[in-house]
């Protein structure tokens, strides 16, 4: 910045500023802390920028409040015990959403059951075993690309791979597998990040005791990355509950008059049900609240599952100290 030898560009050395500071009643010796014109300007600029960023952040919160508010006002009154526990009747207009609620839980659990073991295993390989070579780079590229594939394309892949090729039929199993393929990149990336967050020194200490890589992973790395892995699981749950396209060709149906008995049954699902009651059913004024109620339920299911995972993660994190 300004060279001390040049007093005109170094206002703190300016005798005028010193006199001013004394005149303002600042105790002697403190005048060096008085803001110069330049410091004042940068302080004001910094305040303005802080305000701007705060405003932008608040704008983010607005849609969330608007969505939740609208849903709660329009759909809230319709959330009765019967709504959750009864089957739809009268061409979807009356009754409840019980089969869809159950179906969504089946589909989500199935997707988790497939995606989490596969994703965690892949992440452990990539983080702990893989060396930096063309194979690893190809795998990483594939993961990034898999994450970028639109969900409708995953749906068509699911029809080809699981419904027809694996002969699962349109079933919970096929839909869960499709959801799992779609969410795998999320599990892999978040798990890999949390494994990488475990300090390398811990691994080296363990290796130097004569532990194998697997003993090190099992005893030191995994116990300390559980909370991060759960973060990935939370994201998977949120996506699996909400996705419509991948399940609508592979296992979710417009209306199924019974609850799924096995993973080879078709099922209703909340997200598809929301689509159906919004677009496929003629609703009179009396039933206008129905889509809102379904949407609110959908969000509540996501929040409930997230809350569960976050609670679990906090329990794990309480143990993590270094």
């Amino acid at each position: 910045m300004s060279a001390p030898s040049n007093p005109s560009t170094n206002p703190s050395r300016n005798p005028g500023t010193e006199r001013e500071a004394h005149a303002n009643g600042a105790p002697a010796g403190q005048h060096v802390f008085a803001a110069t014109a330049r410091e004042g300007a940068s302080l004001r600029r910094q305040q303005a920028i802080r305000g701007l960023f705060l405003l932008t952040t608040m704008l983010l919160v607005l849609p969330v409040l608007a969505i939740l508010g609208k849903l709660a006002i329009e759909g809230g009154p319709a959330l009765t015990w019967e709504f959750f526990t009864e089957e739809p009747r009268n061409g979807m207009k009356d009754g409840g959403i019980f089969p869809a609620l159950v179906g969504t839980i089946w589909l989500t659990a199935g997707a988790l059951g497939v995606a989490v073991p596969l994703g965690v295993a892949a992440a452990i390989y990539l983080s702990e075993y893989a060396r930096d070579n063309w194979l690893t780079r190809t795998i990483n590229l594939a993961i990034v690309n898999l994450a970028g594939v639109p969900s409708i394309v995953h749906a068509l892949f699911g029809v080809g791979a699981f419904v027809h090729f694996m002969a699962f039929g349109t079933s919970i199993l096929a839909a869960s597998c499709t959801l799992a393929v779609m969410t795998l990149p999320v599990v892999i990336v978040s798990t890999r990040e949390s494994l990488q967050a475990v300090p390398r020194a811990f691994r080296e200490a363990c290796w130097s005791l004569g532990a194998t890589r697997w003993q090190t992973i099992w005893r030191v790395v995994l116990p300390n990355s559980g909370s991060g892995i759960l973060t990935g699981v939370i994201l998977v749950v949120s996506r699996a509950v909400g996705e419509t396209a991948p399940i609508m060709f592979t296992g979710a149906a417009f209306f199924v008059p019974f609850l799924p008995q096995s993973v080879f049954d078709q099922t209703m699902a909340l997200s598809l049900h929301l689509y159906n009651v919004s677009t496929q059913v003629n609703l009179d004024d009396q039933h206008k609240h129905l889509p809102f109620a379904v949407a609110l339920t959908l969000i509540l299911v996501v929040l409930a599952m997230n809350a569960l995972a976050i609670w679990f993660r906090m329990k794990l994190r309480g143990r993590k100290k270094w």
Binding site: A201, W207, L209, G210, V220, K321, W322
Partner: protein, 269 residues
């Protein structure tokens, strides 16, 4: 495959009456890609001695230690050439590296208390080699913590997390952990840089005791620490071993190389 514990016959006994050689290094060179870290190092470490390794940063001291217990396996691009003979076996030909590492304990510069309880930190190595009986583990934990001069401070809170101990306590915990694998060779890499002087002195006392049972390679950048502890000292500079000699000789004007004399007298480094 398990390498047997080294027998006295496996180590070569020199004719001059000094202790047999436990570790023989010859023509050791270490490269990281293009960068040469160590070049043409020859040295012997004898049984039950403390072998001091001094030298400024980038002298190749830590790389040297890494090569000894084959931790180079975990460093991509680290290339080790030359022979390292430990207990009569070339470590490059040992396929069961886990057994090799169990015979060589390591203490790192910064204390690494694993995020396990104090008890589990020390019991980790015995458990890895299959000790399951509680009584046996209890005995090992108490013995190792006692030898590391930590038992009295932690005996009432063995269930607490090891990573929450103070720096000096964690470093003694690390030593206890290294001892729990019953090593023949203990490598210490600048163990005192994160430890206060009082604790450093306590650990030094511990090391003097341990000399009767095992062999120690002590890397330090405190010249006086080498003087206090080491039987023999090697001076590393810029990836080369400049001089090896008995500590008494080196520090009492016996150093032959001008660079060693300058370093010992604090004129550079």
């Amino acid at each position: 495959m398990v390498i047997p514990p080294p027998l006295p016959s496996a180590t070569s006994r020199p004719t001059d009456g000094s202790a047999p050689t436990l570790l023989a290094v010859s023509g050791l060179s270490i490269r990281y890609g293009e960068k040469v870290a160590l070049q043409g190092v020859d040295l012997d470490v004898r049984q039950n001695e403390i072998f001091g390794l001094i030298g400024p940063a980038n002298a190749g001291k830590t790389s040297f230690l890494r090569a000894l217990n084959r931790m180079d396996e975990f460093v991509p691009g680290m290339q080790v050439d030359g022979t390292i003979t430990f207990a009569g076996r070339d470590v490059r030909t040992i396929r069961n590296l886990y057994a090799l590492r169990r015979h060589i304990g390591v203490v790192f510069p910064l204390p690494v208390g694993l995020p396990l309880s104090i008890y589990d930190n020390v019991a980790l190595a015995p458990r890895l080699r299959g000790v399951r009986k509680r009584a046996e583990l209890d005995e090992i934990v108490q013995r190792c913590l006692t030898r590391a001069a930590l038992w009295d401070e932690v005996k009432d809170r063995l269930k607490n997390l090891g990573s929450l101990l103070s720096g000096g306590q964690q470093q003694r915990l690390t030593i206890a952990r290294a001892l729990s694998q019953d090593p023949e060779l203990l490598l210490l890499d600048e163990f005192s840089i994160a430890v206060d002087p009082v604790t450093t002195m306590r650990i030094e006392e511990v090391l003097k005791e341990l000399r009767h049972e095992l062999t120690i390679v002590l890397v330090t950048n405190l010249v006086q620490q080498a003087r206090r502890l080491a039987d023999r000292t090697a001076f590393f500079l810029g990836g080369r071993c400049v001089e090896i000699g008995s500590t008494e000789e080196l520090f009492n004007g016996g150093a032959k190389d001008q660079r060693t004399i300058d370093y010992l007298e604090g004129r550079f480094g």
